[in-house]
């Protein structure tokens, strides 16, 4: 590639057709040059694509294949049939969706006021208060799960505190059950909701609220009819991230659920550990993946998802 032609390509890109002197022959050559340049650029993604192939495409493809292999070794749908026949599978899926839904709901209830508070702060304070969201976000989820395990145990701080305050009389079982799982998961997922929601709120034009109040709306009315609808895309995007992450979550339900909250992810590992049955585990994984993709696909259809997730595109 000679430098002179590269220059022309760049100039041509920027200024469009301001150079009528370029002949048709040249234009063809330039178009080809640009194409080659584009392919050269695209080749920079090759190493990353190899890694994705090794870690995602090949393994997930393999699992997909394994899910159709029966105990006898040949092609069979028995792994999927079992999922319909046995009640325990249905229970697992119900629990998974229940936990994901409740966690998302808790995150919305706690995350909306927090994001609203942060979005209303004067600029110089945002950085400081934002640490409350960013610190947990940057802290290992295993450490945070462990912290809740310690706080929520029978002789933990929460039980001690509540008994001293007279809230309840004898220690309550707060962990190794659904309560503990939901507390831990909501704590871990909250930043994933607050961050996109905060970004969406920051983009709301303050003049809108100004106009509403000038036209006589009470602060509450202005909030519910103007602000809330405008913040909705951010909230939905955040909720979606939380919901999808919850669907496949493993560590927190495994530790805080104590074997009583069986989600798809924990059942997959149980099948592998106890029965070493790759077919059954793969089939569960495939269904989990399809459920996740379905949620994303439907949401993507209803909302312009990538616009909400990645800003304007």
């Amino acid at each position: 590639m000679s430098k002179t032609s590269a220059e022309t390509v760049v100039e041509n890109n920027q200024t469009g057709n301001q150079f009528p002197a370029v002949s048709d022959d040249n234009r063809v050559a330039l178009a080809e040059q640009e194409k080659r340049e584009q392919w050269k650029l695209l080749s920079l993604t090759f190493p990353a694509l190899v890694v994705i192939a090794l870690v995602i495409l090949i393994p997930v493809g393999w699992l997909f294949y394994l899910s159709f292999i029966g105990k006898a070794g040949g092609f069979s749908l028995e792994n999927y049939q079992k999922m319909i026949e046995y009640k325990s599978y249905a229970r697992t899926f119900t629990t998974t969706f229940q936990v994901s839904f409740l966690t998302t709901l808790i995150c919305i209830l706690l995350g909306y006021p927090l994001a609203y508070f942060l979005a209303q702060l004067p600029g110089r304070w945002v950085g400081f208060f934002m640490l409350a969201v960013l610190l947990p976000f940057w802290t290992s989820l295993l450490v945070r799960t462990y912290a809740w395990l310690v706080l929520l145990q029978r002789k933990g701080i929460i039980n001690d505190f509540a008994i001293n305050m007279g809230l309840w009389e004898s220690p309550i079982k707060l962990v190794h059950n659904m309560t503990g799982t939901l507390i831990g998961m909501a704590h871990i997922m909250l930043p994933f909701l607050v961050l996109p929601l905060y970004n969406a709120m920051k983009k709301i034009d303050r003049d809108m609220m100004h106009a509403a109040s000038n036209l006589g709306a009470s602060p509450a009315r202005a909030f519910w009819t103007v602000y809330m609808p405008l913040s909705l895309p951010g909230m939905v995007a955040g909720s979606l991230i939380v919901f999808v992450l919850c669907l496949g979550f493993y560590v927190t339900p495994a530790v805080l659920g104590g074997g009583r909250v069986i989600m798809v992810s924990t059942q997959i590992t149980a099948i592998l550990e106890n029965q070493f049955n790759w077919g059954a585990a793969s089939a569960l994984g495939v269904v989990l993946l399809i459920a996740t993709l379905l949620v994303l696909f439907i949401a993507g259809r209803v909302l312009k998802l990538d616009a909400a997730l990645f800003g304007k595109s």
Partner: protein, 269 residues
Amino acid sequence: MSWWRTPASSTQVTHGGRLWLYVLAAIIMILLIIPTFLVIPMSFSDSQYLEFPPETWSLRWYNEYFGSRKWMRATVVSLKIATATMMVATILGTMAAYALFVSGHRLAKRIFMLLITPMIVPVILIAIGTFYAFGKFGLNNTLTGLVIAHTALATPLVMIVITAALRSYDLNQERVAVSLGATRIKAFFQITLPQIKFSVVTAALLSFLTSFDEVIVAIFVSGGSTATLTKHMFSALRDYIDPTIAAISTIMVLVSTVLLLLTQAIGKK
């Protein structure tokens, strides 16, 4: 207190009228921050049962951690893998993000979606899938295997951070450099990279933590002498509450806090 009567927003709500919001936000922020930090004083307890506040203070669990060959080996493994992942993921992710952002090819969006699939595919599936596939490739229980897997998990984060940085950067500057005779590579390293370097550093730190904190893939893919810190922590958590983990957690919280404050500080410059 006249501050209460001053308007807090363009709808003329006063700060006093907003009091409920401030209280609620404060409670939520405390709930977000405190649980993790309560582990710090508890890690200095002398008791087998983690108490708060500790009755007698001691460094018993830190001695346990630093004196244990198992924990030390796992820590070194985790640090090695995280460092390697950080370097590989930052380079691959930056390359890919830059290429896709600049090229404008019709495939660019598709490739972007493909490269961020690790954020969409449930991690448990990635974990058992890589365990199976790496078993066939002979990559299980090797540092290389886990670095490859963690790189896949960290690359999407790098790409999102870098793409966001490129969006707020004026690409014409690079075009000018090229039109003045610089090669594309030179233009990138001399013009573009210096201007997005804080985002690159943030992306690097994020990928380090992604790998260092990663649990599920490590549980499956690492093992024996390559078992990571998180793998050991997880099995110690499932069986009983080992107070040594409080000491390790304290160290991990401090590391995360320092790294976060570091990115905040360089971001302000």
